[in-house]
Amino acid sequence: MPITSPSHYLPTQRLFVGTMLGAPFATLAWIRIFANSFRVRSKKLTCLFHDIMRLAVTICLVYTMTYATILPTSAAPAVDFVRDIAPIFEQHCVSCHKSSDPNGDLDLTYAEGVLNDNDLPLVVVENPAESLLLKMISGDQPEMPQDANPLSAEQVATIKRWIEQGAPWPAETLLVDKNVVDTDWWSFKPLNKPAVPQLHESDSVWVRTPIDTFVLSMLRERGLSPSPEADRRTLLRRLYFDLVGLPPTPEESDAFVKDTNPQAYEQLVERLLASKHYGERWARHWLDIVHYGDTHGFDKDKVRNNAWPYRDYVIRAFNDDKPYDRFVREQLAGDAFYPNETDGIVALGFIAAGPFDWVGQIEVGAGTLEKKRVRNLDRDDMVRNTIETFCSATVGCARCHDHKFDPFTAIDYYSLQAVFATVDRADRQYAVDSAVEARRASLSETRKDLSSQIKANNDSKERNDEQLSDLQKSLEAVDVQLKALPKQKYVFAATTSFAGQGQFQPTQGKPRPVHLLQRGSVSSPLQQVEPGTIQCLSHLKSYFPPNTLFATGANRAALADWILDEQNPLTWRSIVNRVWQFHFGRGLVDTASDFGRMGTLPTHPQLLDWLAVTFRDEGRSIKNLHRLIVNSATYRQSSNHNEHHAKIDRSNQYLWRMNRRRLDAESLRDAMLVVAGEMDFKMYGPGFRAFGFEDDHSPRYKYEEYDPNDPASHRRTIYRFIVRSAPDPFMETLDCADPSMLVARRNETLTPLQALALLNNHFVVTMAEHFAQQINKPSDSTADQIARATRLAFGREPTPQETQILTDIANKHGLPNACRLIFNTNEFLFID
């Protein structure tokens, strides 16, 4: 069976013959495959692709418009392959049986593959019933199509008739996986700014930002109406947890409730957005998406000592409201765009954020299949991290075969792998201060000079001791100066040059060859593939011509440019949807990292596009996007239930109320530390370790040895040292993100084991004790202490029932038990 591209057996002129003969759709498909094969060999020729494609599309349209009206409407007795058979095969068969991925060694895309298969009696014209093709698709439980509904009786009958009639299949007609060429899907459509909908005058009173206009018009269409605005305490608590991930203090709470300024809410939003804690909250969301961790994962899960500078970079980027395009460029190709800036290097921690197969990379020998497998999966992680994060496209599915549902080919996928063909994950030096680095470079140069002079003098026959002593002194002086400079810093990042170890050696910028792999298997490589990206956004260049502007990372820079192209509709929709999701608990598109056919549709497509264009065209500022959202009337609604509305829209996808949120693991732990008065707000630096550690060749992380009274661990949870192989059991039971997965949205569970953790975990028990010490003024009555406790924990006075119940527990079992109870209430865990 030939597995190679069809261009091997079809002469070029057939392209035109096929078009003439009236099979333009198949031709269109063929052109694509043809272009793909060019892509593999020649970058220059590929640029013809878009022109040819456009021409072909035009021909198709003309064909459709002309022949659709001429063809007879009644079914003709003769079966026409192109009209009757090709659509069945294309829809039901070729996604598995095609040239790039011939399952069962069967390629159903061209005539010879089916009619002249010498191994299998696929089509037996003399005795149609003997045709394997027919046998596979008929019967009570047909074997094919696998994992899908059987073909209809009518379709089977048509295929039978086709065989009976001699199975005519024009040689120039090539079939194509429809999914791979079909870009008719909302997320691939061009991005245009929709007009803001018109509302009744009475309704426009409710509107605070343009978002509300879109939301309200959708509500009205469905007979829904918005909920009233939440009360001040609720709004305050909501904004605090949402924007900075912390509870407000009782004093802030009282001040806000009493504030009579009509702009009090907006001012609060500004204060919180300006807070340094804002970055700590929103960086955590980003780190979920890009699967940040502080160890490598897998067997011998080694510590990654220099991952944290990237985590700190993300916090700073959010606090500085770094324009999103700059944020993307730095993370993907900072070394190309900004090689002399700290952020240009540190941000590359993004590419290296995921797991690293230490044993596979460092111990497995070069040249083995195992090594190829390890590198293939290492690049796979980089590709998926990049395209899922920035474009919400699940291109990773195309590692083993063309994507089954979305227009991403295996060649697209491997051309993306080729973008990362020069980099590895390793410690990379970065400059904190360019003046310091210049000084270091010049001192090092001087040192080298002096050393060689000393050597020359020493080796020389006319050794001059006086001169030698002077030189030695100068050398020592240089060493003192070098030593006095701030230490060089490292970040675990993408790099082409690093200190090798064992079998793990840098490429020094020379790309490793990347091949199209049949069924994703490193033991079945096909053609070598050049750097590029997905082709279905045909108005964008998907191939990357050589670019000498950049000393390094030119292909990553080209990919960043492609991602950030104003006409790339995925990127801008993706980021605004993510931000929306973190505010409301659910995105306008529910599947934030999958805008393909297996994802969900946008609930508010117009609003999504309006936000995307506004964001793209007006500064690319995440903070401005927050302002639009949290200042809206939509966001300020109460989260209360309404039976009438719930009957129409139980899941609240149209936002007739605010969603009540369960606190995420980090916010809950942070809230406990704050309420207990134990929080240390020191920012940045290496993570705190909530475990005992031992490395006897294979590191062991012992959470049972953690002492919650260790003040070093009383920092915000984003500074937690994150172990991949052994997740922190407390954080895990609260659904923290798994650092081995790209987590677009966390699961939210309420389990008995979670209840046990919140009751009994050493950390909670300890923090409840500190909480009790906070409120335990001997002069106060127990009731006063309880009042102080609910003010700290809930931001309000206790109800008489609470006073009675909590006082009772405090009196009988001690104040710490009452505080522990408060930590376990639904009110502490849920934000209205």
Partner: protein, 497 residues
């Protein structure tokens, strides 16, 4: 249908599905499918509607996992050629890719082989106690793995993928079948007392499935067998205090809930504390072996019921027998109480000194005691389940990430062999006394290169025995309907009754 209306309905459905799998307690994925058809039913009764794909042969599973790569040619896969060519250079006729070394000489097993049982299966003395059970066991000798490295290979056996981030088999079963007991976790893991295997607890993680499906680690021989089951000792928390605290907590939560109608999560959370309290009663009861008769303890090789004796890192026979036996007995008790899936690990990480089956240095030194300990507990477990009538609907699966080479490494050890190794299955629906999938004359690779068994096939077979079609137990994550068996897997009909 109007497009918007359709979208609304789809979203409502999505959200309901969302809700049910997040908060539906033990409700499984298959159960969910049938429940979702009844539009207005928001029932979350975990017992109610478990609808399987076909009638099951078994209800529960114990997986015995030999961490580090247990040798097939020293235990269950007899090859006379190894004895015949012992000490001679190994020339299998084609190139051999090894993990650490160059092929050494052919090496026979350090112990004797004997025919055992009615079936006459050759069993090595390394695992002699299991010889009593061969007529209940189906052996599979043509296993292959996609990786030769412990981390990815262990992930493959545990989750079906060589990458981290995927749900383990136990998590899939929990998701698919739900719980039979709401006072115990559905999926329990009994790690080696020396520590976790390569990849750590991610081997029994829930991946993208909700957290309630992840394995709960229990250490029967530790003072605090389940993390956070009780507050730390010497704290201010008392049992009477907790009784009052839980009553008070519910009262406060009920008031809070009354003001917030229409949010079933609040009710689910109140209920989670009831279940937690029941777990506090049930779990210690299961762990308490003092009521087991002496002959049962003896069968499992348990000499002492002390908890938390000092664990020695180095492999030694006494400890292997003790701990593995105790874990096997606790596993039986967990299954009796309705736990679906128990995973018992023999062997810890790849630290020094050697503490798992990764016998690069010395097969005799390490496989000897490990084999004796594992075989004692495993044989006792099979016999015990059988005498209780439980073997009929319980599956016992013995597995490891890869096997070991028929040649020696540094004269006494063996290097990894991902090209051929052994798994075995006993219990419900499995034809005992069978051998499936011969290996070649060296016990190096499958005899028939076209007929190899992957973990996908083992997983598909186990799901099949449990009444589940492996192609239909799915969960959508980032654009793919994920399965335990990925896009692979064939039920091994040849070993079924």
């Amino acid at each position: 249908m109007n497009q918007n209306l359709r979208q609304t309905q789809v979203a409502n459905l999505t959200s309901r599905r969302d809700f049910l799998w997040k908060y539906g307690g033990g409700l499984g994925g298959i159960a969910l499918a049938s429940l979702l058809q009844q539009e207005d039913s928001l029932a979350t009764d975990s017992q109610a509607t478990i609808a399987l794909h076909h009638p099951p042969k078994a209800k529960r599973v114990i997986q015995l996992y030999m961490s580090g790569g247990a040798s097939q040619c020293d235990t269950f896969d007899y090859k006379p050629l190894l004895a015949k060519k012992h000490g001679q250079p190994w020339d299998p006729g084609s190139e051999v890719e090894l993990f650490q070394s160059k092929p050494g000489n052919v090496m026979q097993a350090p112990w004797k082989w004997r025919r055992r049982g009615q079936s006459g299966k050759w069993i090595n003395d390394c695992v002699a106690p299991l010889g009593d059970c061969v007529d209940d066991i189906a052996f599979i000798h043509n296993m292959v793995s996609k990786s030769n490295v412990h981390g990815p290979a262990t992930f493959m056996q545990a989750t079906g993928f060589i990458l981290p981030g995927f749900p383990s088999m136990g998590a899939w079963l929990s998701y698919g079948m739900g719980s039979e007991a709401d006072d115990l976790p559905t999926f329990v893991v009994l790690p080696d007392p020396r520590g976790f295997p390569p990849n750590g607890p991610t081997n029994w993680g829930s991946g993208f499935l909700p957290a309630q499906h992840q394995g709960t680690a229990i250490r029967p021989s530790a003072a605090n067998p389940i993390a956070d089951l009780f507050a730390p000792p010497n704290s201010y928390v008392t049992s009477q205090g907790d009784v009052d605290t839980l009553v008070a907590l519910e009262a406060i939560n009920r008031t809070h809930q009354a003001e917030r109608a229409g949010d079933s999560r609040l009710e689910a959370r109140i209920r989670s504390y009831e279940l937690a309290a029941r777990m506090q009663v049930s779990a210690p009861r299961v762990m308490d072996l003092s009521g087991e008769p002496a002959h049962i303890l003896k069968m499992y090789g348990i000499e002492s019921l002390d908890v938390n004796p000092k664990v020695e890192l180095e492999i030694n026979e006494k400890q292997e027998v003790q701990y593995f036996g105790r874990n096997c007995l606790v596993a039986r008790r967990l299954l009796e109480q309705g736990v679906r899936f128990v995973q018992i690990w023999s062997g810890a990480d790849n630290g020094h000194p050697r503490r798992n089956w990764d016998s690069h240095e010395d097969i005799q030194r390490d496989h000897g005691p490990l084999g004796r300990g594992m075989a004692t507990g495993a044989a006792a477990l099979i016999k015990d389940l059988k005498q209780r009538g439980m073997l009929e609907d319980t599956i016992v699966l013995w597995t490891t990430e890869f096997g070991r080479m028929p040649c020696s490494q540094a004269s006494k050890g063996r290097d990894h062999n991902p090209f051929g190794f052994t798994n075995w299955i006993a219990g419900g629906g499995v034809q005992g006394g069978t051998t499936y999938g011969e290996s070649d004359e060296w016990s190096w690779r499958p005899a028939d290169g076209k007929n190899v068994t992957y973990c996908y096939d083992i997983h598909a077979t186990i799901l099949h025995l449990l009444g589940i079609d492996h192609t239909r137990l799915t969960f959508r994550n980032n654009g793919i309907d994920r399965r335990l068996t990925d896009v692979h897997g064939h039920v091994i009909e040849e070993i079924l009754t």
